[in-house]
């Protein structure tokens, strides 16, 4: 079984329960700034070697770790409004790391890393039962229904930092965990124990041409996300389920904030 952990192992450093929660990485996505352009999706897919098929119009088998959903306010013309919800993996913390997907995985192929707050996925251990997908209300998990195929010479553009996944396993956004590893290794090599905000940024954050995505340590008051998440206009998706996600959204439009969660008919949103 030596080979088995060769690649794709993520996020197990200091993994035991109760160890110091060093970082709590998360995002604040400003929906007032998001233009729905889709650059985050492409940045994510190129960074993480996400494959593509000739026909990707069936969104039910199309792997997009970062997917931009479109919400409408349901009103007729001309009072209609739309808003985009970029949806990476929420890296739910649940209660003490009890993320919806982590506890259900029968083979411990996905794990909540207490050092970073990142939910990992070990592709080489996953045997494709898809229970985690059933557990995730955000549809953030994707199954490799096909063998990945890169046409012509496009294999040349694959990144060695992220191993391409074989058919039959589940994958999802990792908050570009390999970038965290790289930043941490660099910091350690330079004799530092902490990494700075700029050293570790996800590919989508970096690419976003509108600057709508902000990424950082939610626990660190010096990081932008720490302040942004406290805005009265900040909210999270499906917060009421108790998933305790680490991706926050921000919108000044009340209907958008309401669209982020379920409410009873006459219930007031938060």
């Amino acid at each position: 079984m030596k080979e088995e952990h060769k690649e794709g192992v993520q996020g197990h450093e200091g993994g035991a329960h109760g160890h110091g929660e060093k970082y709590k990485f998360g995002m604040v996505i400003d929906l007032d700034k998001c233009t729905g352009c889709g650059s985050c999706m492409v940045a994510c897919m190129t960074e993480n070697n996400v494959p593509y098929k000739k026909n990707e119009t069936n969104k039910l088998d199309s792997i997009t770790w970062m997917r931009v959903f479109k919400a409408t306010n349901g009103k007729p013309y001309p009072d209609t409004d739309i808003c985009y919800f970029p949806r990476p993996c929420m890296h739910c913390e649940g209660e003490h790391g009890h993320a919806p997907c982590v506890s259900v995985c029968p083979a411990t192929a996905t794990d909540y890393n207490y050092e970073t707050g990142i939910v990992s996925q070990i592709y080489t251990r996953c045997f494709g039962c898809r229970y985690c997908m059933a557990a995730c209300p955000y549809h953030a998990r994707y199954f490799n229904w096909w063998d990945p195929v890169w046409p012509d010479d496009t294999k040349e553009s694959l990144s060695p930092d992220v191993s391409p996944r074989m058919r039959g396993v589940v994958e999802k956004c990792s908050f570009c965990f390999h970038r965290f590893q790289g930043a941490r290794d660099k910091a350690y090599a330079e004799g530092r124990r902490e990494i700075t905000e700029n050293e570790y940024q996800t590919a989508c954050t970096q690419a976003c041409p509108a600057g709508a995505i902000v990424f950082g340590d939610l626990n660190n008051p010096e990081h932008k996300v720490h302040e942004l998440k406290q805005s009265p206009h900040a909210f999270r998706l499906l917060e009421r389920l108790g998933t305790n996600p680490k991706v926050y959204y921000h919108s000044t439009r009340s209907w958008v904030r309401r669209a982020g969660d379920n409410y009873l008919t006459n219930e007031r949103s938060k």
Binding site: D61, V104, F127, G128, C129, A134, F143, V169, N262
Partner: protein
């Protein structure tokens, strides 16, 4: 031709007729085998499963088959643990049915995973907090128990029984069978329960999520309850079907009726608990998540009718028939009730997996539907063919019905 193998004193159909019968079912098995090979070779893109319906026909079939196969452990439990002696007359058959159900379920599970060659990681890298791990362990262990229970039945074959070692082995196995049966019952309670837990723990899925009693969601107990309520009915159905096909009386009527009564009362019990659970879910669990009860039943096939079908038509009606002496003793109503009962449980297993996933949770997400394709259909239905074949073989070559001689003079 094969008369040497047929139990003494029992009449069986001519071999060519038997061969034709087996051949017909084998054809379906072959078809399913081809489907399985396609799915294994080319991957799960050959099915209609997708990211929104990671669970589909296969899991439904799995859960349903295992619930229906619950007759085995529960009859064993009643015979060996509770000491209800009449059930020895149907226990062999119940065990074989159970064996068939569980082996089919395991085969379908092997199909349903994306990396079948890594299926054993569920044991090697087991996450003990996962309900699915519990399911895997309990099913495998219980399957072993069923195999152990099946061995002495096989060894009773006329020719095998002549071998002294095998005879002795069989005898000794019989001797301590109660221990195995009790262990099997223990395992079964847990895996039926953990199958329920699989759905009930999904706190991201309002449709499936149920309030927890200690570490288990209520579905844990509901699945056990529903399985033992329908398992005996399935045993009755298969027995009656066998009798119809063989045109013989195989099990005494009082045994069947007793089983029906037990099933009926269990169903009553199950339904009352299930109703309470549903009410609590609708009135407390869902509103906490901001979800209206009626949002859970938005459109066909997942509208309120599916709930009415599950709990009313296929729940209350068969329960009423089975617990009432007069209706129970009416052969037509008995069979109808058994069918309804089994259907109700199948619907329950279907909604807890497929409907639970079909309903979008994010308010801006879309509702999609899913229809299994032929590969899923044929492999999900293949257990029936397997059942036909294995039951026929067992019936022909093994003395499985102790009452057969006395009922067919």
């Amino acid at each position: 031709m094969d008369s040497a193998l047929i139990p003494k004193g029992l009449k069986r159909c001519p071999f060519p007729q038997f061969a034709l019968w087996i051949g017909a079912w084998s054809f379906i098995m072959l078809w399913a085998a081809i489907a399985a090979v396609i799915a294994w070779a080319y991957g799960l893109n050959t099915t209609n499963l997708n990211d929104y319906f990671g669970f589909g026909a296969w899991i439904t079939a799995d859960l349903a088959i295992i619930a229906l196969g619950a007759g085995a452990f529960f009859t064993g439990f009643m015979r060996y643990v509770l000491g209800i002696d009449e059930f020895k007359n149907i226990l062999n058959y119940a065990v074989i049915i159970g064996f068939i159900c569980y082996s089919s379920a395991l085969a379908i599970l092997a199909l349903d995973i994306g990396q079948p060659l890594r299926g054993w990681f569920i044991f090697w890298h087991a996450n003990v907090h996962s309900m699915l791990t519990e399911v895997a362990f309990c099913i495998s262990c219980y399957f072993t128990v069923l195999a152990i229970e099946y061995i002495p039945i096989i060894l009773e074959n006329r020719q095998l029984d002549k071998v002294p070692t095998l005879h002795a082995f069989s005898h000794n196995l019989h001797h301590i069978m109660a221990v195995f049966a009790a262990t099997g019952a223990f395992l079964s309670f847990f895996h039926q329960g953990s199958l329920g837990g699989v759905a009930g723990v999904l706190f991201g899925r309002p449709f499936a999520f149920r309030v927890h009693a200690s570490i288990w969601p209520t579905t844990f107990f509901l699945f056990i309850f529903s399985a033992i309520a329908c398992g005996p009915c399935f045993t009755i159905l298969v027995t009656r079907l066998t009798e119809a096909i063989t045109r013989k009386k195989l099990v005494a009527r009082n045994v069947i009726l007793k089983l029906a009564t037990v099933s009926g009362w269990l169903l009553v019990g199950y339904l009352s608990v299930k109703m309470l659970d549903t009410l609590y879910w609708a009135a407390v669990t869902l509103p906490k998540m901001g979800v209206n009860f009626f949002d859970m039943y938005p459109q066909a096939p997942f509208n309120l009718w599916i709930l009415i079908a599950e709990l009313g038509i296929c729940g209350a009606i068969p329960a009423a028939i089975l617990i009432t002496k007069k209706t129970r003793e009416n052969e037509f109503l008995l069979i109808l009730a058994a069918i309804l009962n089994c259907t109700g449980i199948c619907i329950n297993r279907y909604v807890m997996t497929v409907q639970a996933l079909a309903l979008p949770v994010m308010p801006f997400d879309k509702f999609y539907n899913y229809v299994p394709n032929w590969i899923e259909w044929i492999t999900s239905l293949a257990p029936f063919a397997f059942m036909a074949i294995l039951l026929s073989l067992s019936y022909r070559y093994l003395p499985i019905f102790p009452q057969e001689k006395e009922l067919n003079p």
